[in-house]
């Protein structure tokens, strides 16, 4: 009986440990903290650091977009929170937006973040009710960013300089 118990524990332990090794190589954590965060994601206990998120929001409102993105990246290191990814995309949009021309590199990064926000909010529709923002959903933001990246005849319209940033 005890022999069977040891065998069963051994098999279960080996399978669990093997999955852990595969998971480590698949996620490639860079620090022990990354390992802990990854484990939280797997266990479903992962949460965004609220303090860092609020600090990012403050910087965003002060138009310090890079610093804001940095804070949000630290608040959501695993990029698992749709709301944070939406704000990151918005920060790329606002920083990249120009009256004469947009910064394509920033818009592309914004588009990637918007896509992440969309894929993370597949189950529940994300709507950010922030009075400071004119765009409220990741889908709208994605459309805006895509439009900014497109090359059309409309780009030559001189009246374009009067348009407003959202």
């Amino acid at each position: 009986m005890q022999h069977k118990l040891i065998q069963s524990v051994g098999v279960a332990w080996t399978i669990l440990y093997a999955f852990f090794v595969i998971w480590i190589y698949a996620t490639e954590p860079r620090t022990f903290k990354d390992v802990a965060t990854g484990a939280q994601v797997v266990a479903g206990t992962y949460e965004v650091d609220r303090e860092k998120f609020e600090e990012g929001l403050r910087l965003f409102r002060a138009e310090q977009f890079r610093a804001a993105r940095d804070e949000w990246a630290r608040a959501d290191p695993e990029r698992r929170d749709a709301r944070t990814q939406f704000y990151i995309a918005y920060a790329f949009y606002r920083e990249g937006w120009g009256r004469v021309y947009n910064d394509d590199a920033l818009f592309k990064q914004g588009l990637e973040a918007a896509n992440r926000a969309i894929s993370l909010s597949e189950n529940e529709r994300l709507r950010v009710d922030d009075t400071d923002l004119q765009i409220k959903t990741p889908a709208e933001l994605k459309a805006e960013l895509e439009q900014g990246l497109e090359r059309t005849v409309d780009d030559l319209n001189p009246l374009k300089v009067f348009r407003q940033r959202k």
């Binding site: 005890q2 051994g10 332990w13 399978i15 440990y17 093997a18 480590i24």
Partner: protein, 275 residues
């Protein structure tokens, strides 16, 4: 279940897979020299090929008796456990190679060829388990010393000017294909620990997990316990009498009892010393 049997089971079913999987985990771990971050490098294809050759060598060198590890006679759980252990051994071997192979460049191919040549030659040599283990320890030890001691010191940023010069000359001769990736010194320690664990697990690996002698002894004990007390006495007398065999057993039997009447299980006990 006595202590020895329990400990053997713990080693075989828990400790051995644990050690092998730890080797599989640490074999691809490097530490960046810039920010000391972990870098996990999956085993290259050549490491898997070398691992296959090594498994063949284990079988040829009698370090592994495959039939004794996986058999239709074992319970499913034992076969599953043994299969997992063998798979762990395969990946641990691949990662042990990964640990001592340079990551890129000409040196990666030189080291790979060195391993390939050695393992291929060993396939046709007469090895027993002890020689195989000794040969592998030397093989991995040499590769470790070359990669983590010689090459690492040649390309260390804080090395002497002579070392740096040698490194530059080597790099120039090989048209820049020889420069290895630089890692923190902790990488060497991790590799050493990984190889030590790997060799330890090879020492713990028994060629026949379910020892045939143990199995037979177990059968005898089970058969003995099923006997009535009188017949158990006869068996004990036969065993105590030593290897004289049938005559002793006959003497120990009560008058009028024939040896053939005492059943199949007793016959097994009586004949065992003759083997």
């Amino acid at each position: 279940m006595n202590n020895a049997s329990r400990n053997r089971a713990l080693v075989r079913f828990v400790l051995l897979p644990l050690l092998l999987l730890t080797v599989a985990l640490l074999g691809g771990l490097r530490v960046s020299s810039d920010d000391h971050a972990f870098i996990f490098i999956a085993p290259p294809l050549i490491a898997l090929i070398l691992s296959v050759l090594l498994m063949l060598l284990f079988v040829r060198g009698h370090m592994l008796e495959l039939r004794a590890w996986i058999s239709s006679g074992y319970p499913v759980l034992v076969n599953v456990s043994h299969t997992l252990t063998l798979l762990s051994l395969f990946f641990a071997s691949a990662q042990a190679f990964n640990s001592v192979l340079p990551e890129t460049g000409l040196l990666f191919w030189l080291f790979s060829l060195f391993f390939l040549w050695t393992l291929w030659n060993n396939q046709f040599s007469n090895f027993d388990a002890r020689h195989t283990l000794r040969s592998l320890t030397v093989l991995f030890g040499t590769a470790f010393a070359l990669k983590h001691m010689l090459l690492a010191s040649l390309y260390a940023p804080e090395g002497s000017w002579l070392r740096k010069l040698t490194g530059v000359v080597l790099e120039g001769v090989s048209l820049g294909t020889i420069a290895p990736q630089r890692f923190a010194p902790a990488t060497g320690y991790i590799s050493f620990f990984t190889l030590a664990l790997y060799v330890t697990s090879l020492v713990l690996l028994s060629p026949q997990p379910e020892s045939l002698a143990d199995e037979e002894a177990g059968q005898v004990v089970r058969a003995y316990r099923k006997l009535p007390p009188g017949e158990q006495r006869v068996v004990r007398a036969a065993i105590d009498a030593g290897s004289d065999g049938e005559s002793d057993v006959r003497r120990a039997l009560p008058a009028g009892t024939d040896l053939e009447d005492s059943g199949e299980e007793e016959t097994v006990v009586a004949r065992k010393p003759e083997r």
